[in-house]
Each structure stands twice: as structure tokens, then as C-alpha cells.
Point group: C2
Chain length 409, copies 2
């Protein structure tokens, strides 16, 4: 069986930690498995490289920024290969390009379009542990080095696990699994043993930082079983699996996620006529601004307010862009409010259990938290509240659905 | 015309210096030339990476060490490309592999066996400045990343200049050219305007650190004109050229080089019979110990002393190796003396000017310096003296041949 393991930056932050990772890898190898290890750059390396780029260039060209950043994984992966040798195991480190991670040409945010794992397979066949640089690939068209964006190493690992038919993709991180809520906010938050791909996708999209959204998407589409666990302990973490396998225990609610990284953008008194919303969101999309929730109320006096959430960093740019668009669309004004938070309740059982939304809203109301926006999917309910009330809100919702406890039953 | 420029680690030591290098490159570009820039890793990056390797591994596997070290040039080259963009010029950084530097598989000391500059040529044709990672290539057989060894960036630059038919290969360094002697020892040392490939080869092999021996060898074999100059000034440096062009001014002597990095190994009372010397030097070669001067005196009593110089770092190993061989070859003993220095006089005119050796030896004698070993080539005379007397020796020889002065006439 092939096991794919991914170690994040904090797991390989210095040479001592790299040695500890090597020891973990050896254990799996001793059990007779073939091992493919995906590594991130050491600790804060990527941030340091970005800082250097900013010292020489106002807006670093994307191709060169990718070339620069990929140096980070090159260092961690070759050091890990050396540490493996020191323990008596041969290892081969491979860059994204050498490992056959083929992407499109979108520098800084490339998408994997193919995996050609020829070199990985031959290295495994020769008995080596294979170590692959996370977060990077090579573009099919330009043959240039690309990166997958922040957290892209998760995606590398999941994609490799899928392409290699691995039995599991283990994601090692500094927390020991996926929790029913952020334990720093809710002391009784409970570690989940299993969660479905769909639920994890919603949790990740709603602010749970343990896994990157795109990697979960990839895992779902390619049916890859992901095991999220801590690189500092040997306990079981959380399994992220296909719904059929994950939900044998079928809890109605998986957890509460929150996100304080977005702001609320309101376009006031938009004329209620066809094509206006399309014009607004096309403009935002063309500026590469990611929109999350979109809420439009029922029109009353022939105008309506359209609200959406955007990443805080993009807020001022979105504000500027839409203000310039005001005359064309005939709206009254733009408000950008950075002082909000999103709280989301996620659970696959929601589909078949009515009343979840009502219970959530009343929990918030009982806690004195005002709801500013609401948006739902089949397995998620998200609300926007004041940023200052995020802890109260998360705690109240977590309590109402009795999500706490020591271990999931 | 294509100009190849190479900037060493001290020229790109930090982001400010990288910006200054970008400005220099722009000037050449403005003059209408195509420019290919070869860069080393920033400052002490390579040393830091080696230190990290040593933290995880006693003897780092060579393949992985090469993978690690090549991260250094990746960082400097992409930062330089960004700095070029900032000045309004587009640039493409290319790894050794992307630039078509094809080598053998000797990790850590790979030799360039081919250059396939397809990507360089198309990037130049598109109007980009091309920036190539020095010191690295890709092996033809294993497709693994290789390094050319310390100072390998000089070789990268010269090899590219040859393959691209460049008009000149400019080697930027922290000194402004090749001198008649080390200016730290001889205050009247004079910068040479021109020197032939052969002379430079002897000077480099005898301790002049300004150019790496292999790069000069490559330049000679491929008739590449090299211009050694300072990255901190705009003055002319020293041209290293084919003899026909370099020696229009035909000085008898080019300069005095010295080397304190070698020790003297004496094998005492070796039986004077065929095959013994071959046995000794085969053993050293198999242990990958580089021998420089070899001196054997005329045999008297059926035995002879064989002396050679070896790098100081290899001395103890060579001593051990030959001591084990003593019974087989029937010699009396091994002496290793690390307290020596080599002083060499180099000049293409020597060939046609008798009496140079005599003048050099009498200069040393007049200065009270004892000669322990002598070895000559057609354009070089080297002597081994006590390490403590190296400055006296260099100064005396430099004076005797009137090499000093402000500018070469």
C-alpha cells in the first residue's frame, strides 16, 4: 500500500523537527508501506522570501515570484531526504516538476490539470522513500514553474494520493484534527472522528483553517480519504471521507466554523431591473475579487440593497471599483464594513432534519447576537454578525446543538 | 551581440546590491545588446545551506546536497529578474536545467557535457533579459539536479558564452581584475590589461583566486574572451583571451601567484624500480586526492625521495593511505608538512626568454628564502618555500622582474 503524508511548515520549522519527521516516516516504511512525503517550506521561509521580493519590486512579476517561492520547499525536501539517509533509509526528493505535477499557467494560483507520476513510481519501485515539494508544479504550456497558492501543499498531497491510488493521505499539522468549533473559543469543543468531504468543504470554506478548501474539493472529486492529524503526537486525528463511509455514525451537525477575515460590502438602493447584479459581480470577478455570501432582499420601492462578503484585503479595492460603477448602475452608494464575522453551522444531517436553522437563530437571539446577513446551502447555515460578538455567537450555537464532549460518540 | 555577465555571491549579497546589478544590466541592454546574466547564490547562502545539511546528516547524500544547494541561485536569480522588471525591463530567470546546462552525474563536481540553449535563445528573441542560475545543471542520464562545485558559476558563464557565441563573458567580482601579484602582499602590484588563457590557467592553478581553473580551461578550449572586472566600479578590468590576441603587447612575465592551501608530502627512500610511482599515485587518485607538483630526484643508492603537494584538507588522509601502502612499495616512511607555500612565476614569454628560472632562483636566494621543491611548465616556474616566507618570496620575485607600476604599458 502507498501512504501519502504531508507535513506543513511548522512540522519542518527547523532541522530538529525535520529529523523528527524523518523518524515518523521511517515507522510507516517499517510497516511495509511505500511512502510519498509532501513537504511545505520550513517555518516562515515563504514569508521571508516574499519580504525579499517586496524589497526589490513593488509588484513582483508572478512568474518570478513563483520561481523564488519554490526555493522554500526545495530546501525542506532535500534536508528531509538527508535525514532519512541518516536513519538508514534511501530517499529521493523531487520538485513539483520532477514529480509530474502539471498545472495551468496561472502563476501564484495554478490549478493542477494532470499528474504524471512516472518518476515517483520508479523511485518507489527502487525502494526509495519519495519526498515531493508541496505547493508547486510546472505549467504544461510554458514549462515554467508555478505555485498553487497558499496552503497548496495540501492540494499537492491529495492530488498525489489520488493519482497514486494511495490508501490514505495523511495531513500532518499543528492541531490534532477537526473540531466541532475552534477550541480557543469553545473550551468544550470536541474532536471529530469522521467528517464527510462535503461537510469538510463547507467547514473549510467557512473559516476552519485546518485544511485548504481546494484540497478538500480535490479529495471529494477523486474519492481520497484524508486523515488530518498532529505531527507532535501519535493519536488518531480526523478522517475526511466519502459521505457513505464517513456518515455511518451520522451526526446531524458536524461543527461550527467562524471567519473574521471578510468584510461586508453593501450596494445601497440598486434599481431592481435585470442585468444589474450581473454587471456588479462581473466587474468584481474581472478584478479577481472573491465573493462569498451574496444576499439580495426582496425589492420594495423598485430598488434593493445587495450585500456580499469579500476578503478584508480586497475590501478597499472592491469599494473603489463599485463606486466608479455607481453612475452606470444607478445605485445610491457603497458601504464597506470590515467589522463583521461570519458564523456557520455545518452538518450533512441538516438535509433531513428540519428546524436546524430555526434553532440556530433562536440560540443567537437568546445570546443577544444580532444577525445581519443569512445564507444557506443544503448542509450549511451561515450568518454575519458583529465581529465583537463572534465568540458569543459560536459558543451559543455550539451549546444549543450539544456539540461538546470529550470524544465523539 | 550577446553579452554574458556573471555576478558572484558578494555582488548579489543583499537586495540592495541586487538592485545595483539590475542597473548595470540595464545599461548593457540600453546599448542594444542581448544580455544573459549568470548569478551565484546571495552572499553566504551556500554556506548556510551546507550548515543546515550538516545538522541533519553526517555525510549528506550528494544527490540531495545538490538539490539543496541549488535553492541558493534560485533565490538570487528570481530576485534579480524582479529588480529588472522594476526598472521596466522584462526578464526570465532559468534554472540550470531550464537553461540547458547538461552535465554528467558526478554530484557536487559535475562536468558540463552539453549546452542546449533553446529556451535562452527564444527568451532573448522575445526581448527578455535572461538570468541563469550559476553553478548548476541537470544530468543527462538521471535527469537529477547537479552542481558544478565551488566557483562553478564562472564555468556556467563561460560555457554559455561559448555556446551562445557571445562577444564577451564578463565576470564581475569584488576585485577589479587580475594583478601581477596579490596586492595585499605586494603594494606595487599592477593590474594586467590582458593575459592569455594559458597564463590565466597557470595563475589560477597556482593560487590566483579571481577565476576558477575549470572556467579558464573551458574559455581556452572554446576561445571565449573573458573580461574580469569589479561589480563596484565601472573601470576596465583584465581581458583573458586567446594568446594571439592577448599577447600583442607580449610581456615576458605576467605575474606571481602564491598558494598556501597545500602541504608537502614526502615518501622517503622509495626503491628505484619501475611501477612504484604508478602504484603510489594510482592509490591517491582512487582516493580522489588531487596531486599538484610531483618531484622525484635522481636516484643514488637505489632509493629515491618522491615529493608532491596535496591540498591541506587531504593531507592527513593521503598520509594514512600511503603509510598503509609502505610495506607493499618498500619505502621507508611518509612525511607530511603543512607549513609550506607555493610561489609561481607565470609568463607566456618565458618560452622564448632563457634565464628566467635562474633570475627567479637568485632573487629568492638574495632574499634569504630557501627553495624546497621546484617544478616547471613551459610558461611557469613554481617553487615550494616555508609558509612563513611566502610574502618575502612573492615580493622578491615581483621586484626582480619589475612587475610593479601603476598601469601596464
Amino acid at each position: 500500500m502507498i501512504v501519502v503524508q504531508k507535513y506543513g511548515g511548522s512540522s519542518v520549522a527547523d532541522t530538529d523537527r525535520i529529523k523528527r519527521v524523518a523518524e515518523r516516516v521511517v515507522q510507516v516504511r517499517r510497516d511495509g508501506h511505500d511512502v510519498v512525503v509532501v513537504v511545505s517550506a520550513m517555518g516562515k521561509t515563504t514569508d521571508q522570501l516574499i519580504r525579499q521580493a517586496e524589497e526589490v519590486s513593488g509588484i513582483p512579476p508572478a512568474r518570478e515570484l513563483d520561481m523564488l517561492l519554490t526555493a522554500g520547499e526545495r530546501i525542506s525536501m532535500s534536508l528531509l531526504a538527508m535525514a532519512m539517509h541518516e536513519l538508514g533509509y534511501t530517499a529521493r526528493s523531487l520538485t513539483g516538476s520532477q514529480a509530474g505535477i502539471i498545472t495551468d499557467t496561472t502563476h501564484g494560483k495554478a490549478r493542477i490539470i494532470d499528474i504524471t507520476p512516472g518518476r515517483i513510481n520508479s523511485a518507489l519501485a527502487e525502494g526509495h522513500v519519495v519526498i515531493v515539494a508541496g505547493f508547486q508544479g510546472v505549467s504544461r504550456d510554458s514549462k515554467d514553474v508555478t505555485t498553487l497558492g497558499r496552503g497548496g501543499s495540501d492540494t499537492t498531497a491529495v492530488a498525489l494520493a489520488g493519482a497514486l491510488g494511495a490508501s490514505v493521505c495523511e495531513i500532518y499539522t499543528d492541531v490534532d484534527g477537526v473540531y466541532t468549533a475552534d477550541p480557543r473559543i469553545v473550551s468544550t469543543a470536541r474532536k471529530l472522528q469522521r467528517v464527510s468531504h462535503e461537510e469538510m468543504l463547507e467547514l473549510a470554506a467557512c473559516g476552519a483553517k485546518v485544511l485548504q478548501v481546494r484540497s478538500v474539493e480535490y479529495a471529494r472529486n477523486h474519492h481520497v480519504a484524508v486523515h488530518v492529524r498532529s505531527s507532535f503526537s501519535y493519536g488518531e486525528g480526523t478522517w475526511v471521507q466519502d459521505e457513505s463511509e464517513a456518515n455511518m455514525e451520522q451526526a446531524v451537525i458536524s461543527g461550527v466554523a467562524h471567519d473574521t477575515g471578510e468584510g461586508k460590502l453593501v450596494i445601497r438602493r440598486v434599481p431592481d431591473k435585470p442585468g444589474v447584479a450581473a454587471r456588479i459581480f462581473t466587474a468584481l470577478a474581472e478584478a479577481n475579487i472573491n465573493i462569498d455570501m451574496i444576499v439580495q432582499n426582496v425589492s420594495e420601492d423598485g430598488t434593493t440593497d445587495i450585500s456580499c462578503t469579500v476578503p478584508l484585503a480586497d475590501g478597499p479595492r472592491a469599494d473603489l471599483l463599485l463606486t466608479a460603477l455607481l453612475p452606470e448602475i444607478g445605485a445610491e452608494g457603497i458601504l464597506f464594513d470590515s467589522d463583521v464575522a461570519k458564523v456557520s453551522l455545518v452538518g450533512a444531517g441538516m438535509k433531513t432534519h428540519p428546524g436546524v436553522a430555526a434553532a440556530m437563530f433562536s440560540a443567537l437571539s437568546d445570546a443577544g447576537v444580532n444577525i445581519e446577513m443569512i445564507s444557506t446551502s443544503t448542509i450549511r447555515i451561515s450568518v454575519v454578525v458583529r465581529a465583537a460578538e463572534v465568540s458569543t455567537a459560536v459558543q451559543a450555537v455550539h451549546d444549543r446543538f450539544n456539540l461538546g464532549g470529550e470524544v465523539e460518540t
